[in-house]
């Protein structure tokens, strides 16, 4: 076993990363070691990154250079809230150090430059904020490792005497590319801000937000709900001013112990009605009642809107009642915000003859945009209720390929007096499946008038032992 991560005290005792545990124990008998749990660490790191979105909504865990990755924040347009970029950096590092974490951070125009400065900046430049355009100068004195290179490349550069980033400036790019591949040049360009670099935010980035910070952390659900109502009012006022409505609303709760709770609700149609939005979120909160845990308190709340679209004021006519369409949408919202989007659905037809595929249930909120298919051939009998999974039954048929005569279903026997069919539904050979068989569907009515939709799976030349299933019930 080897050491993977050390705290400051261990480093001061002369231990180093990669040392075997036995050696380290010999050097430092009272060493406290823990086996590394990568999954849990990743999770904790992710939580920390999410929580940092309190400062700026765009936070990503970036790259695989460090064992867990690095937290990258896009702070465009937020630094003024913290008294400038230096103030923001100070605030973030102070908050994290207050938790006993070792933090190094930097602000630059490119992800590469900020990474280099935060890792390899000298102690006096640690926490330095790089002015736009200063990358070339700032990086010149740093070792080539600061370009986020792998071991092999940096070792190769070292054998050529290229140890500092500055030595790479103005080199023949074709030669570097031939020797070290495209990767080196990309990293160099990224660090200097010549090539762009995408960051993928971990959380949805709301287009409009309203937020509130608390001097004293709050913990009661009622307080949270009251704040939601207030935030919804502010957010909706903002949407109204911009003549917009939103379909998705996100609530972010930032806890003092660096955890983030995030929940989202969807509305069936774009809205900016504050009481409605607040109620949707309240329902959603109610749903996770047992999971709601304010910990040591919540010190910031943010309500954001995504899927924003234009929404003009609607004027109701004098003689018109309330808008039914809108009222239905509000009903869908209330139910789905409480029970989840799958709770309410509508039938949607697909272009296939297989009954269980021909109709799918589509949630009423967040409907897909594809054109609705027409109902399949209405002249064929289709049951009023369809079993999600066909139930196998024992059927006695008069002749092998003939209609069913008697059936044993759920331990009760039925004798059929009237049968129509078969309607033959073939296999969709273009779908992968393990030897699906042709189905012959019959409408069979028993002596008392119950009508079943039965099918025999398999023709006699397809299989030796065709099986019968009940698939649905008619009125």
């Amino acid at each position: 076993m080897r050491l993977k991560a050390l705290n400051r005290a261990a480093l001061e005792a002369g231990l180093g990363e990669g040392q075997t545990l036995a050696d380290a124990r010999a050097l430092c008998p009272n060493l406290v070691s823990r086996p590394m749990d990568r999954g849990r660490l990743m999770e904790a790191f992710g939580e920390l990154a999410d929580w940092l979105s309190a400062f700026s909504p765009l936070v990503a865990i970036h790259g695989v250079v460090a064992p867990m990755g690095d937290i990258v924040m896009d702070i465009t347009g937020v630094s003024h809230l913290f008294g400038g970029e230096a103030g923001l950096l100070k605030e973030v590092t102070a908050r994290l150090e207050g938790e006993g974490l070792s933090v190094s951070g930097a602000i630059a125009d490119s992800v590469g430059a900020a990474w280099a400065l935060s890792r390899f900046g000298k102690s006096e430049t640690l926490g330095r904020v790089l002015a736009p355009g200063g990358e070339e100068e700032a990086l010149a004195e740093l070792p080539v490792m600061a370009l986020r290179l792998d071991e092999e490349t940096s070792a190769g550069l070292a054998t050529m005497g290229l140890k500092r980033v500055g030595q790479l400036y103005g080199r023949d790019r074709r030669a570097l590319k031939a020797r070290f591949g495209e990767g080196l040049l990309v990293r160099l360009d990224q660090a200097l801000g010549i090539a762009g670099e995408r960051i993928v935010p971990r959380l949805p980035a709301p287009e409009r937000v309203a937020e509130r910070r608390f001097g004293e952390p709050i913990g009661l659900v009622d307080d949270v709900l009251a704040t939601i109502a207030d935030l919804a009012r502010r957010l909706c006022a903002e949407l109204e001013a911009a003549r917009e409505g939103a379909q998705t609303f996100h609530l972010f709760l930032y806890r003092v112990d660096h955890k983030l709770m995030h929940l989202a609700v969807n509305a069936a149609s774009a809205t900016r009605e504050a009481p409605h939005v607040a109620r949707l979120i309240a329902h959603r909160l109610e749903r996770l009642q047992t999971d709601f845990d304010a910990g040591f308190g919540i010190d910031m709340m943010r309500l954001g809107a995504t899927s924003v679209s234009r929404l003009d004021e609607t004027q109701l006519g004098v003689f018109e009642g309330a808008d039914t369409r809108l009222d239905l949408d509000r009903f869908y919202d209330r139910v789905t915000s409480r029970f989840g989007p799958a709770a309410l659905s509508r039938s949607k037809f697909a272009d296939t003859h297989i009954p269980e595929r021909a109709v799918t249930l589509e949630p009423v909120v967040a409907r897909t945009g594809d054109a609705p298919q027409a109902m399949p051939d209405a002249t064929q009998p289709r049951p009023l209720r369809l079993l999600p999974v066909p139930e196998e039954v024992t059927v006695v048929a008069e002749v092998p390929e003939g209609p069913p005569g008697r059936m044993q279903w759920r331990r009760v026997s039925y004798r059929f007096s009237r049968v129509s069919g078969p309607e033959r539904i073939g296999v969709e050979w273009w779908r992968p499946g393990e030897g699906a068989l042709t189905r012959d569907y019959y409408v069979a009515e028993d002596d008392e008038g119950r009508r079943f939709w039965l099918f025999r799976e398999g023709l006699y030349d397809e299989t030796r032992q065709p099986r019968w299933f009940v698939h649905g019930f008619f009125a």
């Binding site: 009642g321 309330a322 039914t324 369409r325 009222d327 239905l328 509000r330 009903f331 869908y332 209330r334 139910v335 409480r338 029970f339 799958a342 709770a343 309410l344 659905s345 509508r346 039938s347 949607k348 037809f349 009954p355 021909a358 109709v359 249930l361 009423v364 109902m375 399949p376 209405a378 009998p381 289709r382 049951p383 009023l384 209720r385 369809l386 079993l387 999600p388 999974v389 209609p403 279903w409 759920r410 009760v412 007096s417 009237r418 049968v419 129509s420 409408v443 009515e445 002596d447 008392e448 008038g449 119950r450 009508r451 649905g472 019930f473 008619f474 009125a475």
Partner: protein
């Protein structure tokens, strides 16, 4: 006190009781229509053809295997309530019941003349959630009716719960149909209680062996206005039609016309 005075007082008292019970206005209309049940008289009221909005119905079938008939009758009952102003029927079911009684199948609704688009399918985990959703639906001006499919005898659906639904339905004018299964019928505040069982279908032209249009043996066991009756109904192109089982069998009808059709129908079943 003469007769006119007496009947006037009686009507006033009835009005007061109806008000106390928060009975919908339409229900009063049924009560005054009166002539219901007799086979003569043109203006008789037929509850399965034009059940007024804002009532709670219970549709009972004996067993889960009659689920098709129960839902078919319930949907047929509320179909006339669909209007452009109220374009939706909300059908509610508890999730775990789908494996037993099946899901409402969009393609099969065409038989009842209901656009699949009009049916909103709600699936909840518990009865309490289902009742909550039903109440929310009752408050919506776009909903024509709520059809709730509930197997067994859940504790959450007690008299109080049905009373809540009844009061809310009366206020908003949205009808509720509770489709229930089983032999026992606990007390409820439903305005009409129907017992439905499937009946052998009629003949289909050109095919002796095949079944025809769906038929239901229906009996109205209880109603708030005291109306009762038994019918053998068939789903025709545009609504229920009453079938005279005796006439169909070519049997002589009793001269009095007092034979209830369903009795004849039962006789035919035992024959």
């Amino acid at each position: 006190m003469n007769d006119a005075q007496r009947s006037g007082t009686l009507a006033r008292l009835k009005d007061r009781i109806a008000k106390l019970e928060n009975r919908p206005v339409a229900a009063g209309a049924i009560a005054s229509a009166g002539g219901f049940g007799t086979r003569r008289g043109a203006a008789r009221f037929v509850p399965w053809r034009q059940a007024p909005a804002g009532l709670v119905h219970e549709v009972w079938t004996g067993n889960l295997r009659d689920a098709g008939a129960g839902l078919g009758f319930a949907l047929g009952l509320v179909r006339p309530l669909l209007t452009p102003a109220r374009p939706a029927i909300v059908w509610l079911q508890r999730q775990f019941e789908a494996a037993e009684t099946g899901l409402a199948y969009g393609a099969g609704l065409a038989v009842l003349g209901i656009e699949p688009e009009a049916i909103v399918i709600g699936r909840m985990k518990q009865t309490g959630e289902l009742l909550w959703a039903a109440e929310e639906a009752l408050g919506c001006t776009g909903v024509a009716a709520v059809v709730a499919d509930i197997a067994g005898y859940p504790r959450a659906l007690d008299f109080t719960a049905t009373r809540r639904l009844a009061l809310r339905a009366a206020r908003t004018g949205v009808s509720v149909v509770l489709v229930r299964y089983g032999p026992e019928k606990p007390a409820s505040a439903a305005f009409m209680r129907w017992q439905v069982s499937p009946a052998p279908s009629g003949k289909r032209a050109f095919d002796e062996r095949a079944g025809g249009a769906a038929r239901f043996a229906v009996s109205l066991e209880r109603s708030g206005s005291g109306l009762r009756g038994n019918w053998l109904l068939e789903w025709q192109d545009d609504g229920f039609g009453e079938i005279d089982a005796d006439a169909e069998r070519g049997a002589r009808k009793a001269a009095s016309g007092a034979v209830v059709p369903v009795l004849g129908h039962r006789l035919s079943r035992t024959a």
